[in-house]
């Protein structure tokens, strides 16, 4: 058998699997609570699940619309199409729709519920800042998201959080006082609120962790696909100077959940923002790409 240079990272896989398992466990807890607590919430939950399904089903169009992406033909963007063509032929995957968003923020995204219905979009800012090899690295990263079906994975992962958040609100606003009372326990409504709030918080942290692992995986697969981890690393350093580390959550909110931090995707230099970010820190990604580079360059036999 021919030798291979494309080895899986078992540690990464294991951490990802553990995160998924914990999310599944949360889901079970939540369902049990729902079953115990509710009759009138059923409809609301169906609505929430429906919204999530629609978000998944129309993910390609929603994302394009939100980013003001414009689908381009091979004649309009020969370079971008050429790169995507070749990457798809290398990876043996169907060619996704190619789009460009007019924005100076250097960014790219890929979305779509199946590889056949996927969209890959790059901003003009990205294409202006990166050279061809770096652009190829970024596109390979995005195509890996498509191949890994990350839209589906992350949608499924976020079900728990969305349901829990929805339930907390519904119970808070409408369910007050309608709870069946246990003669000597606390009102069931309170228990439901408490459990869903905790579930929501936990699932939030877990989905963020999962998202970081998916990013590392996409880096990895993308680097294997092009054989140029350093080009992706260079693209990351160029991009992240402009868009990384803009926090989206109040730091004070973060305090209580500090203790649940269990499997850092982050490097040892741990900061609070690192467990709330959807992407791993730049150093962690560069470190992984450096290791892949060494692996690809190792002399044969």
């Amino acid at each position: 058998m021919a030798s291979t240079r494309y080895l899986p990272d078992r540690g990464l896989s294991a951490r990802m699997a553990l995160t998924m398992f914990l999310l599944g466990l949360l889901y079970v807890v939540l369902v049990v609570v729902i079953v115990i607590a509710i009759d009138s919430l059923a409809l609301a939950l169906v609505v929430a699940a429906g919204a999530l399904f629609a978000q998944w089903f129309f993910s390609d169009r929603i994302a394009l619309y939100a980013m003001h992406g414009r689908v381009v033909t091979p004649e309009e963007a020969p370079q971008l199409h050429g790169i995507v063509d070749r990457l798809c032929a290398l990876a043996d995957m169907p060619k996704p729709t190619v789009a460009i968003a007019d924005s100076d923020v250097p960014n790219a995204f890929a979305t779509g519920r199946t590889p056949k219905r996927a969209v890959v979009c790059a901003t003009t800012g990205l294409m202006n800042r990166l050279d061809e090899r770096e652009l190829e690295g970024v596109l390979a990263h995005e195509l890996s998201h498509v191949a890994h079906r990350d839209v589906t994975v992350m949608t499924v992962a976020s079900v728990v959080g969305v349901l829990a958040g929805f339930m907390t609100r519904i119970v808070l606003y409408s369910g007050m006082g309608r709870g069946r009372r246990d003669s000597n326990g606390p009102p069931i409504v309170l228990v439901v609120i408490l459990v869903s709030a905790v579930v929501y918080a936990l699932s939030f942290l877990l989905t963020r962790a999962l998202s970081r692992y998916r990013e590392l995986s996409a880096d990895r697969s993308g680097a294997f696909l092009t054989g140029q981890p350093s080009a992706l690393a260079s693209a990351l350093t160029k991009i992240s100077g402009d868009m990384a580390s803009i926090p989206s959550r109040d730091l004070r909110e973060a305090e209580p959940y500090n203790a649940f931090f269990f499997a850092p995707a982050a490097a040892p230099g741990f900061s609070l923002s690192s467990i709330f970010s959807t992407h791993p820190p730049l150093e962690r990604r560069l470190e992984q790409l450096g290791a892949i580079s060494a692996q690809l360059g190792r002399p044969t036999t």
Binding site: R5, I83, A89, G227, P299, T300
Partner: protein
């Protein structure tokens, strides 16, 4: 790609299939009789060279191997997308010799762990009027498709479909037309 590798986000480029290459000599005869295009005796292999010394060493090995087998010097070039092309030449009559060379290049890259980096192989055809055709082999699909450029970045789709009809069962032709991606300015055309 299996479900597990998708869920765990572990996709790696698929390994190549090489065996279908040996169907080329028969197909060349068919194309010559049906379409009037003759092999030019030029073939090329396109792959994505990984960074680092291992690829360079492997490519040097490949070139040494072919030259030891009596083939003329291999021409190496890198296209605007960063893909490496190895251009192989043989006497136009010796189609099976060319195919053997193509296979040797591919097998060497594969044995050194760069199989997943192979993009395509191409065999050139032309007729007396100067019309050019490339038969492109997609490793990851194990299928061929015709590519007939004409003029600047235009391709003759009608002619390509005609070639597909002529090839019939001689070659596994890529059924998904969206995968017939163009190779503008490819060495060997």
């Amino acid at each position: 790609m299996g479900l597990l590798s998708r869920v765990l986000g572990r996709s790696t480029p698929p390994p190549p299939t090489l065996d279908a290459l040996f169907a080329l000599p028969t197909a060349a005869l068919t194309i010559e009789s049906a379409m009037g295009l003759r092999p030019t005796g030029v073939g090329s292999v396109c792959f994505r060279a990984a960074e680092g010394g291992a690829t360079r060493a492997t490519v040097t090995d490949v070139e040494a191997l072919l030259e030891a087998g009596g083939a003329p010097a291999v021409e190496r070039s890198v296209d605007s997308f960063g893909f490496t092309w190895l251009l192989l030449r043989r006497d136009p009559v010796d189609v099976s010799g060319l195919v053997t060379d193509l296979h040797a290049v591919n097998a060497t890259l594969q044995d050194n762990g760069f199989g997943p980096a192979l993009l395509c192989s191409l065999m050139g055809f032309a007729d007396s009027s100067g019309r050019a055709l490339g038969l492109v082999y997609l490793y990851k699909r194990g299928t061929f498709y015709p590519f007939a450029p004409h003029g600047d970045k235009a391709r003759d789709n009608a002619f390509e479909l005609e070639v597909r009809g002529a090839l019939g069962v001689d070659l596994p032709v890529e059924p998904d037309l969206s995968r017939w991606f163009p190779l503008w300015g490819a060495p060997g055309l």
